[in-house]
C-alpha cells in the first residue's frame, strides 16, 4: 500500500520534472537562431484568430447572463445603476480570463495536442530530428509564444464583447439607464483589475500551450495513445487553469 502510493508519487514527480524541462528547453530554443517568425505567425493565427468566433459567442452570452443575474440581485437594493460595474468587474477580473482560457483549451489546445501527437506517431517528429532540426524549436516554441500572446488578446476581446452583452440585456432589455451603465464601469474598474486580468490571461496562455504541447509531444505510439493524450491535455490544462486562478487571485487581492 505504502509502496504503491510511493510509486504513484514518484511517477508524478518525475512527470512534473519532465514537463518543466520541456518548458524550459522550448523557451531556451526560442532565443537561438534560426528564428521561426513565419511559424510563430501561423500559430498566432491558429490559436488566436481561429478561436475568435467561439470566444465572441461565449463572451456575449456570459455578459448577458451576468446582467440578468446582476439586475435581479441589485434591484433588491435599488441600485440597478451599478449593473455596469458588476458586469465589468466580474468579466475583467475573473470570467474573461477563465472562460476564454477554457474555450481556447477546448478548441485550440486539443487540436494542438492532436496535431503534435499525429506528428509523433507518424514519425514526422523523428523526421525533423533526422534532418538535424530540433522539434522543440521548430514545432513547440512557436506554439508556446502563440499561446502566450494569443490568449491575452482573446481575453481582451472576451471582456469587451461580454460588457456589450451585459449592456444589451441590462439597458436594452431591462431598462437600466445607459449613462449609468458606462459611468459605473468607469468609476469602479481600476488599473489593478486590468493588470490582474492581463496577468491571469498571460499565465493561462502559457499553461494551455505548455500542457497541450507536452501531452502531444509524448503521445504513446498508438491510436489509443493519441485519444488519451488529447483527453488528458484538455482535462489537465483546465484543472491547472482553475487551480492556478485560485492562487493568483488570492495573491492579487
Amino acid at each position: 500500500m505504502v509502496a504503491a502510493i510511493g510509486r504513484l508519487v514518484l511517477k508524478h514527480v518525475r512527470e512534473m520534472g519532465r514537463m518543466l524541462i520541456f518548458l524550459v528547453s522550448s523557451f531556451g530554443w526560442l532565443v537561438r537562431p534560426p528564428f521561426r517568425f513565419i511559424q510563430f505567425v501561423k500559430q498566432l493565427h491558429f490559436i488566436g484568430y481561429k478561436s475568435t468566433f467561439v470566444v465572441v459567442l461565449t463572451a456575449g452570452f456570459t455578459g448577458m447572463v451576468l446582467a440578468l443575474q446582476g439586475y435581479y440581485s441589485l434591484r433588491k437594493f435599488g441600485s440597478e445603476g451599478l449593473l455596469g460595474s458588476a458586469v465589468a468587474l466580474s468579466m475583467i477580473r475573473e470570467l474573461g480570463p477563465v472562460l476564454a482560457a477554457l474555450m481556447v483549451t477546448a478548441r485550440a489546445g486539443s487540436a494542438m495536442t492532436a496535431e503534435i501527437g499525429i506528428m509523433r506517431i507518424t514519425e514526422q517528429i523523428d523526421a525533423l530530428d533526422t534532418m538535424a532540426i530540433n522539434p522543440l524549436q521548430y514545432l513547440i516554441a512557436p506554439k508556446m509564444v502563440g499561446g502566450l500572446i494569443g490568449v491575452p488578446l482573446l481575453v481582451a476581446l472576451f471582456d469587451v464583447v461580454g460588457i456589450y452583452g451585459g449592456y444589451l440585456v441590462g439597458v436594452d432589455l431591462l431598462g437600466v439607464n445607459a449613462g449609468s451603465y458606462w459611468t459605473s464601469i468607469e468609476s469602479a474598474v481600476e488599473w489593478k483589475d486590468i493588470y490582474g486580468g492581463i496577468l491571469k490571461s498571460i499565465s493561462f496562455g502559457l499553461i494551455i500551450s505548455w500542457v497541450c504541447c507536452y501531452k502531444g509531444f509524448y503521445t504513446r505510439m498508438s491510436a489509443e495513445g493519441l485519444g488519451s493524450a488529447t483527453t488528458e491535455a484538455v482535462v489537465l490544462s483546465s484543472v491547472v487553469i482553475l487551480v492556478w486562478d485560485y492562487f493568483l487571485t488570492s495573491i492579487l487581492l
Partner: protein, 252 residues
C-alpha cells in the same frame, strides 16, 4: 563506414536488439532482411541516433554517436537522409514543400535552384506535376516515392531506406529499386535498406544481412549469403522458390 558493436536495446519490457554486431561498408548498398517485428526499423534508427542503445556502441565513421546529443549529433545527422517506413511526410506541407524542406533547412539553399532541384527529383521518382498535392491526397505508393525524393534530394553521404517498396505494385517496386541503385552508383552514397523483396534484393545489393532473434545472423555478399546452411534462413529466403543468382551477382 557505420559500425555497430554489441548493441542491445530493450523497448518496454521486450528485448529487441540483443547484441548486434554489424559493419556497413562505405559506398555500398547493404540490405537488411528479417521477419516483421524483428527490430529492423529499430536497428536503422540506432544508426542515426533516433534510438540510443542500452549497451554497445554505434560508430559513424570515426564518431561514436550512441551518447551524443545536441549539436555534435546534428553534425553527424547532416550526413544522413532517412526514408521512414511510413514515409513520414509533413502533413502540413505540399509534396513540393516537403521535398524542398531539407534543401532549405539542411543545405540552406534559396532561390530558383530549389525549385529546379525539387522538380528534377520529383520527375525521377515519377511524381512530375504532383508537387502541389498534399500527403493526405496521395496513395501509399506515391507517399513512399515523395519520401524517397525528400531523402535523396540533398545528395547525402549515407541513406537509410526503411522498406522503400512495401505496398507498391511490382512495376513501381522495380522502378524504385532501379532508381535507388542508379542513384547509389551515380553518387556513391552508403545505402542501408530494409526490405522484404526476396529475391530481388539479392540482385541489387552488395551485401545482405539478416536480423534474427535480435542479432545479425549472417552478413555477406549475396552469392555467399544464399549458401548459408542455417535451415531457418534458407527457408526464409526461399519461400518464393530457390534464389538463383546469375551473371555478375553470382561471380561477385
Amino acid at each position: 563506414m557505420i559500425k555497430l558493436v554489441g548493441v542491445k536495446k530493450t523497448l518496454g519490457t521486450q528485448p529487441v536488439l540483443r547484441g548486434v554486431d554489424l559493419t556497413i561498408p562505405t559506398g555500398k548498398l547493404t540490405t537488411i532482411i528479417g521477419r516483421s517485428g524483428e527490430g529492423k526499423s529499430v536497428l536503422l534508427k540506432h544508426m542515426i541516433g533516433l534510438f540510443q542503445p542500452d549497451e554497445g556502441q554505434v560508430w559513424v565513421g570515426d564518431v561514436e554517436i550512441s551518447r551524443l546529443r545536441g549539436r555534435p549529433l546534428n553534425d553527424v545527422r547532416k550526413r544522413f537522409s532517412m526514408l521512414f517506413q511510413g514515409a513520414a511526410l509533413f502533413d502540413s506541407m505540399s509534396v513540393f514543400e516537403n521535398v524542398a524542406f531539407p534543401l532549405k533547412e539542411k543545405l540552406r539553399m534559396t532561390g530558383p535552384d530549389v525549385a529546379t532541384r525539387v522538380n528534377e527529383m520529383l520527375e525521377q521518382v515519377g511524381l512530375a506535376g504532383m508537387g502541389h498535392k498534399f500527403p493526405a491526397e496521395l496513395s501509399g505508393g506515391m507517399r513512399k516515392r515523395a519520401g524517397l525524393a525528400r531523402a535523396l534530394v540533398v545528395r547525402p553521404e549515407i541513406v537509410l531506406f526503411d522498406e522503400p517498396t512495401t505496398g507498391l505494385d511490382p512495376l513501381m517496386a522495380k522502378a524504385i529499386h532501379e532508381l535507388i541503385t542508379t542513384m547509389q552508383r551515380t553518387f556513391g552514397f552508403t545505402a542501408v535498406m530494409v526490405s522484404h523483396e526476396i529475391p530481388e534484393i539479392f540482385f541489387l545489393s552488395d551485401y545482405v544481412a539478416i536480423l534474427k532473434q535480435g542479432r545479425i545472423a549472417v552478413m555477406a555478399p549475396p552469392a555467399e549469403f544464399i549458401r548459408t546452411t542455417d535451415p531457418e534462413i534458407q527457408e526464409f529466403i526461399s519461400v518464393g522458390g530457390p534464389v538463383v543468382l546469375s551473371g555478375a551477382a553470382a561471380r561477385s
